[in-house]
Amino acid sequence: MIRPFAARYRAALADARLPRNLLAFQRAWRTSRDGAFARLADEAPGLGAQTPGFDPARARLMAAKNEVLADPQAVRRAFIGQAEARGAQVHQVETAEAARRTIGDIVRRHGVRLLAKGKSMVAEEIFLNEHLLAMGIEVVETDLGEWIIQLAHETPSHMVMPAIHKSRQQVAELFESETGRPVPREDIQAQVGLARRELRRVFLRAEAGLIGANALIAETGSVMLITNEGNGDLVSTLPPLLIVIAGWEKLLPRFSDATAQVRLLARSGTGQEITTYSSFITGPEPGGELHIVLVDNGRSAMWADPAAREALRCIRCAACADVCPPYQVVGGHVFGYVYSGAIGLVNTPFHHGLAADAGPQSLCVSCNACATVCPVGIPLPQLILDARAHVVEAQGLPPAKRAAIQLWARPRLFDQAMRLASRLQRPFDGAGGLLRLPLPPALAWRTPPALAARPARDACLGRTFEPDLRSPWSMSKARGLTVAYFLQCVADRFAPEQVDAALRVLRACGARVVVPSEQHCCGLVALDSGERATARELAKQTIGVLEAAGPDYVVSGAASCAIAIMHDYARLLADEPAWAARAERLAGRTLDLLSFVARVAEPPPLPPLAGAPVTYHSFCQSTNVLGIGGLGPRLLRQAGLEVGELPEGEVCCGFGGSASLDHPEVSRGIVARKLDNVRQTGATVLCSDNPGCLLHLRGAAHAAGLDVQVQHVAELLAQRLNA
């Protein structure tokens, strides 16, 4: 059985090898996966392929899956009709218990003593093995990774690479215990050879085989199986009885739809172009029996929720885990339950209950990387926040967090509290906008930021700033426009110099800037915490204030707030159509600072200026939601500054809103990866477009003794324009 979240979390943090293995895996996966899709786009059009690339294949597969979701009953009936016409026996089961019982009955009726098992996440989902073992049936996993974790009495930590958390030495020890013979600790080839010999006997002796399905093709009643090792086909060939277990969401309407899935699955799953074996099992063979068990176990409930329904398109490629920064630090036993990665955070409440998801979902930093690689376009980041809101509704927030959000919700009280805090903090003021505060070791990896003596609002709230006509950019296309500026709480209270710089840059582009006086918080903090009611309140307040200013554009130097307005508000207010419409209108006029400068102002290039070596961390959502990852460096270079490329520049810094406070160890692991990359560049200036990232990076760099100045891109641009 699966241990409680806290125990799994502690165990993962204590395992130094796990994050190293996963980091190497994520990097290798990224390179292979990107290369494989690039080659597809390069080679396939010339051959006449129908879906020659990630985008067309994704569009085709999404359409096919959505066709199923438009009428699952009809597609299911069609599949069952075809499968039965070919001699298969199909069982539809609603619960995990019913699934176990049905499979148990089939194997008992056939007197099965040894069951050869292929890889199946659904079998894991319903805890099938324990049930069969309790019936006295020997169940042997034949997929190498699954066999390893079976011997270790563990669940898979990754949907595609189940034993990725194990070292070769650990594997050797497991094989030694199992076979009673010495096994070479370092020789992976020998270990695989041992598995080949041992499991061969299982293929040849088993009275039954059990496999999962990568797709269920309704047009022909076929089960598509996509594998590399050969065990899936052996298990579905040699034993006379074959059981296929699958969630009904695996349905595809027609055979040709499977082509898009074949093009996407291996590339997304392992970075291969295609797996070794792609099989289409259709009906039992003479003398054999084929049983197909279609499992519901919460899928109908997912379908009934119009938002969660989209997650039923999932093809279990695990790409979402492969780009996930917190997953890299803690692994799939923590970032998930049975299903891991972003999809696990979304489907666990439906398959295993909300409580099972409470811990895992809290680890998501909302970087949105998962959404960029999902081959079926599931809006995972939003669905995870939905799950979070449900958890908070059911369990409430921890008292400190609840108090903080309640304070945040009241503009005047919040203002007073921040000013008081700023005064109380004086004795601890250190240099560089940081505090000098003794911290326990668990928190000492990031020096806390100091509240500014004067918040940004004191210098600009309620004021109008005229354009700076002497600036070399004053004839830009923004000349004559009126921009309403949104401060953001973090920049306002901790980094007023960033606000000052942003205002300068906007004025330098020829815009008049107004700073609406009633502005407060965009509500992102509440949204990220799962506190939807407060988030809605603050969103409405913000919409009202910014609308009233009647500007041509709303701009913020805080990309996170700009993105919240552009992409989260309408969905947050979806069940209040009048507000949703106002949110859409505001979104249409709102931009982050970089996008405004690059796309609206389009300023002329400036002559080169020598300076300290700069590197650039793009705020993860700027990259993943807005697609502007390269925009900051490009603008800086256009302004005459040299910018060195930051390896993994688009990977999250680990701030993640309150994630760095809720799970400091995970945040620390993510920022360590970021700082390692920064060190490699030799840069002495680290630049970014989001205040939250900047404060987080500044504090972590300081605590790590890394001598690097951390500045907002607006500050570099403002300095350049003054020079």
């Binding site: 190497a24 080679e43 396939a44 051959l47 006449g48 392929a49 879906t51 070919r86 034949t142 997929d143 190498l144 390893i148 690479m161 189940p162 034993a163 990725i164 194990k166 070769r168 594997v171 992976i188 080839q189 270990q191 695989v192 598995a195 080949r196 010999r197 499991l199 061969r200 006997r201 293929f203 040849l204 002796r205 047009e219 022909t220 590399n228 090792e229 065990n231 086909d233 052996l234 579905s236 060939t237 040699l238 006379p240 055979f255 040709s256 082509t259 074949v262 172009e273 295609i274 797996t275 070794t276 074996y277 792609s278 099989s279 289409f280 259709t282 039992p284 063979e285 003479p286 054999g288």
Partner: protein
Amino acid sequence: MGANVVAQTSLWSRYTAKAELVGAAVMRTASDAGAATLLAEAAGPGYVCTASVASHFPQVAAGTRPSGDAAATQTASIDHAPVSEGDTVAAEVVTAAPFAIAETGSVALDEPRADRGRCFLAERLWVLVPEEVIVATLDDGLARLQALVASGAHHPLLMTGPSRTADIERTLTVGVHGPRALVIVVVGQT
């Protein structure tokens, strides 16, 4: 040369590049007789043919023991007799592919149960492919598979390279449960 021949040649060179990248070997021979000679030299006298070879490549089939006549122990090994450590099934198995796909370097297999089992249990699997049955894309290939299913095939599949895994420390190891080696023999029409 007709346009078709040129196109076919270009498809085969794409095919070969893809297949070799995933660790398959690709050989050419001009005829059924040529294939028989090639196999006699490379696979040795003990190779076993599936029934589909017998119908399409009679000379290859004549060169060895076809699977239907396979020694009783071999058949029994697949048909449920208990197996002890010393048992083997045929190490060198020869089959015939109904088509190949240039886009991915894959061959199709459509074998009934016992012959399919032999293919998957082989140490080295030889796949004879007539040169005229290559198609360009996965779309074409899946359409062919669908046609096989419609005419009664129970377990048609695409095979691309030898079996592999990266489950232990992500280290790629070729040869897990399925064949350790895959050799594609493209047979010309002379």
